[in-house]
């Protein structure tokens, strides 16, 4: 091997790539665009780990330090803190409430100083929101004056809605903790197995089609290149030289593609902040590819383009008078294609049933490798399937005959282009199945019943009357159609501690109207003045304190309303009426069972209860989209540290819906990429057949006949590819679900993907038609 000769030939090829006339340049540009797009995607994907890691770093850097012993006493540098999590119109909102206890209290990251009492600093996104009419409702919720902006070090993403406020009302009764500084090392919160599985599959599914596309792009303009190489042979180049020249030509396109890809990556990086997936976005500076992965991309892309070119030339003999392809292509073998598929299955199947949702580590390599092998196996199966299927096609109109015969003669190009669709579609179907199962699991796990209530809050009260007023205030909020409200406390068993008891047995005690109590227990009848006892059934897993509840909450039993051990003076007593009925608990809208004593207001006044809380579940008017925000505002007005929780099944569903839409969009984009290569291949083929098309027109062939022929030529491989993708995707999805012990919830998830495929067939055909019409002019017959 002579390096000088190699360099000369590669350089000559590179020159052809940029000086090969209009079509040569077009081919290079197409290759560069295709490879560039793929490279940009690969670089973005390899940046994802760092993006997520940087978010964690930022999160821990701004959190008040809680890594060392609890600070009992206030000092000149201490501060009280409370972190508020909320949402506004579906967007996550977080705030850090601070109360410095001395002049030297630490300054939160991203700020110049602790704001003065009643003031707050906001993130740029929150500042914009508060300054706009859309933020008017939120303004009511944050009763602090905006005095500045939180800088990048205090935020985890440029779109984050975040505030840091000085809250003088913070005390050791309502705080999260006392801090001395910010920043602590958060132990990495492990992802559950299901999420890990999803991430692994998503990576594989998104990246494989890109690699397939890079392989296809390297073959663009193959026939023209072959003619150019034949001309080189005529002037004395040997076979090895022509292959090196061809490699140089591809290499030039691939290297240009790397430059384009790097440019696209740098440009798209700037928009990282504007893209938000699942409330997550990133600062451009955090979008940095993993060094090893980036180097791998930079090395693999040019090498693979050269390898693909040399492979493409394998079945071609470049002779001085033209290019000779093997007239009868070798029959495609099935065994090695099935072997790859079987190898993938062999890696995946043993894991069936072996992953629990709560697991935090899975065998990423085995599952990733298994998925890759299955998808590659499916891709490899396609050329065989297309060849085997078109071989059996007979009859039909002229357009069908022309298309089928073309495919019978050479189905490789079409199959290669479509193989990307198989990977993208099969992967998307498997992912959709996983997401659907996940959606089901998570909704089932919450157990929330949003038909009965949509928000839940729990607010401390000074006394029973105050708690009752809170319930009434929330019930009166605009957009609230009803509340399930109880004043909650505890009752204590009467009498002294018994031998062996460390504390007095207690039972939960709720006071509310009949309508509210019916949400917690199955009541045969209820009138104001009634009392009910709800005892945990034997074997109840959600009541570890069942024996103590049974001992305390008995009809006719005397109880105290406060803990005698901690009460000075007279302890209020109450006898549970002997007429109190023992009833069965009913899951409340949050999905929990409430055991203990349920009383209506006339049975006992709430006034003597100990540390009463208003437990409120709110029903909203669905026609008022801002009703949740108004309730949150009202709750925070009552208690600035209140947390209002949205019952989550609908919220989860919409999140999953957006993720599923995301998958469909992602797979559609990937399929568009594939369609682009299919279009290029079709256009090239049409251009190469210019003279033939003109002669067909000469003897009166209708445009529709040739148009339909192009349609069939595109449709047959794509339809076969989609059929394979559906079968493969459903199979892969089923195996992946079986791994986590899930079942398939909807076998029809493939329909949208198939719809996209059908649209692509139409698009490729329609976009080919203008060129086809142009080539059908008689100019093609001219030889002079």
């Amino acid at each position: 091997m002579n390096p000088r000769v190699w360099a000369r030939d590669l350089a000559l090829g590179a020159r052809f790539a940029v000086t090969g006339g209009r079509s040569g340049v077009l081919r290079t540009l197409l290759t560069a665009a295709g490879v560039g797009f793929g490279v940009a995607l690969l670089l973005l994907a390899s940046s994802l780990p760092n993006m997520l890691f940087q978010r964690e770093v930022r999160e821990s850097a701004r959190a008040p330090d809680a890594s060392h012993r609890m600070i009992e006493e206030p000092g000149p540098g201490t501060f009280l803190h409370y972190t508020q999590y909320s949402s506004y119109r579906g967007a996550a909102l977080s705030g850090l409430l601070l109360k410095p206890e001395g002049p030297g209290a630490a300054v939160p990251p991203g700020t110049d100083g602790v704001p003065a009492a009643g003031e707050m600093l906001v993130s740029p996104a929150l500042g914009r929101l508060l300054g706009s009419p859309e933020g008017a409702l939120l303004k009511e919720r944050l009763p602090y004056e905006v005095v500045g902006t939180i800088g990048e070090p205090g935020l985890i993403g440029p779109n984050e809605l975040r505030y840091v406020a000085h809250a003088p009302f913070l005390t050791t009764d309502n705080y999260d903790g006392r801090g001395l500084r910010y920043g602590w090392s958060v132990p990495e919160e492990p992802m559950n197995a299901f999420l890990l599985l999803l991430v692994v599959i998503a990576y594989v599914v998104l990246l494989l089609p890109v690699l397939v596309f890079i392989g296809t792009a390297a073959r663009f303009g193959g026939e023209q290149r072959d003619r150019r190489l034949a001309a080189l042979r005529l002037v004395g180049a040997d076979n090895a030289t022509t292959r090196r020249v061809a490699a140089g030509e591809s290499l030039a396109g691939a290297l240009l593609g790397l430059v384009v890809g790097a440019g696209l990556f740098l440009a798209s990086r700037q928009f990282a902040g504007t893209v938000e997936i699942w409330d997550v976005n990133a600062f451009p500076s955090d979008v940095v590819p993993h060094t090893l992965l980036a180097l791998l991309v930079l090395a693999v892309v040019p090498v693979s383009s050269v390898v693909v070119t040399l492979l493409a030339l394998r079945g071609v003999a470049i002779e001085p008078l033209g290019v000779v392809r093997t007239s009868t292509p070798r029959r495609r073998r099935l065994w090695w294609r099935l072997l790859i598929l079987a190898a993938g299955a062999a890696l995946l199947v043993p894991a069936v049933g072996g992953i629990q949702v709560e697991d935090t580590g899975i065998d990423t390599f085995t599952i990733g490798a298994g998925t890759v092998l299955v998808l590659i196996g499916l891709t490899g199966l396609l050329p065989w399937l297309v060849e085997a299927a078109v071989k059996r096609l007979r009859g039909g109109p002229v357009s069908w005959q022309l298309a089928v015969r073309r495919l019978q003669l050479s189905s490789g190009t079409a199959a290669r282009a479509v193989s990307g669709i198989v990977v993208a579609a099969a992967g998307a179907i498997a992912l959709q199945m996983l997401f659907q199962a996940m959606e089901h699991t998570f909704t089932a796990e919450t157990g929330h019943d949003t038909s009965r209530a949509q928000l839940q809050t729990s607010l401390d009260a000074r006394d029973g009357a105050d708690a009752r007023r809170t319930i009434d205030r929330l019930a009166a909020v605009e957009g609230v159609t009803g509340v399930i409200g109880t004043v909650d406390s505890h009752v204590y068993r009467h009498g002294p501690l018994r031998p062996g008891e460390e504390f007095r047995p207690i039972a939960p005690f709720s006071v509310g109207d009949c309508a509210s109590l019916r949400e917690y227990a199955v009541l045969p009848s209820c009138a104001d003045g009634d009392v009910f006892v709800v005892v945990p059934p034997k074997g109840a897993t959600d009541a570890p304190d069942a024996p103590r509840i049974r001992e305390t909450a008995r009809p006719g039993a005397l109880v105290t309303l406060r803990d005698p051990a901690e009460t000075k003076g007279t302890v209020p007593e109450w006898r549970i009426p002997a007429t109190a009925r023992v009833v069965t608990a009913r899951p409340d809208p949050v999905g929990l069972h409430r055991y203990g004593v349920l009383a209506t207001p006339r049975a006992i006044g709430a006034a003597p209860l100990e540390n009463p809380r208003s437990e409120v579940l709110v029903r909203l008017d669905p026609s008022l989209p801002d009703a949740p925000e108004v309730v949150r505002n009202a709750a925070l007005e009552i208690d600035p540290t209140a947390t209002v929780r949205g019952l989550s099944d609908t919220e989860q569903s919409s999140k999953f819906l957006s993720v599923r839409t995301g998958i469909l969009v992602g797979s559609t984009l990937t399929m568009l990429l594939v369609a682009a290569s299919l279009l290029v291949a079709t256009l090239e083929q049409l251009r190469d057949r210019k003279r033939l098309l003109s002669s067909l027109v000469a003897f009166g062939t209708r445009r529709t006949t040739l148009g339909c022929s192009v349609l069939w030529q595109t449709a047959v491989p794509i339809a076969l590819g989609l059929a394979l993708a559906v079968a493969g995707g459903l199979g892969l999805g089923s195996v992946l679900l079986a791994m986590t012990g899930q079942r398939v919830h909807d076998w029809w998830v493939f329909l949208p993907v198939v719809g996209v495929g059908a649209a692509l067939i139409a698009a490729v055909t329609l976009l080919s038609l203008p060129l086809l019409w142009r080539l059908m002019r008689a100019d093609g017959l001219r030889t002079e």
């Binding site: 109109p397 002229v398 015969r405 003669l409 003897f699 009166g700 062939t701």
Partner: protein, 227 residues
Amino acid sequence: MNTAPLLEATGLSKAYGPTAALSGADFALRAGEVVAVMGPSGSGKSTLLHCLAGIVRPDAGTLAYDGRDITALSDTARSALRRTDFGFVFQFGQLVPELSCVENVALPLRLNGEKRKAAEARALEWLARLEVDDTAAKRPGEISGGQGQRVAVARALVSSPRVIFADEPTGALDSLNGERVMRLLTDASRDTGAAVVLVTHEARVAAWSDREVVVRDGSVRSSEWAA
């Protein structure tokens, strides 16, 4: 013989951009006659053929086929005319490489709506007549140039056209094969009564015609009725 022309062109002009390919060419063709259109490269022979066949619409002049002005016909109507009344043979055969030879020959019939089996049966007859029935199941890439050209002649004749347009039909063949193709083409056309417009620059090929016209600089310089 009926002396009224089957195809008559008067003052045909056609330019491709600034280049005039035809300037006021006149031409007449009687039913059943074989006319050779001769001339040097670039003289406008092929353009004349394309205009006469209704493949290209002339910029000026009239063209009547069987008494009908075909320049006024729509593209669809001209395509239909080419399917039913005209046949074509080109220099390189221009057979569809994916189709077998019998399917290639049956193609014009199928485009006219004939059933596949019937069309292929007729195609086989023509392949036999042109002495290439052994190529029926083969693809064009698997047969010789001479065989391919005879298959192309069979394709031109299969729909019983009234006019065959042959553009350098022997241009890519050796003299022996060229002779054979011309003999078969002219014999078959005479048997079926089809007229032939034969574009060639070879006197040897033109000798198979009833009459010769010469195209030079876009106009027809001589036109002699055969004796």
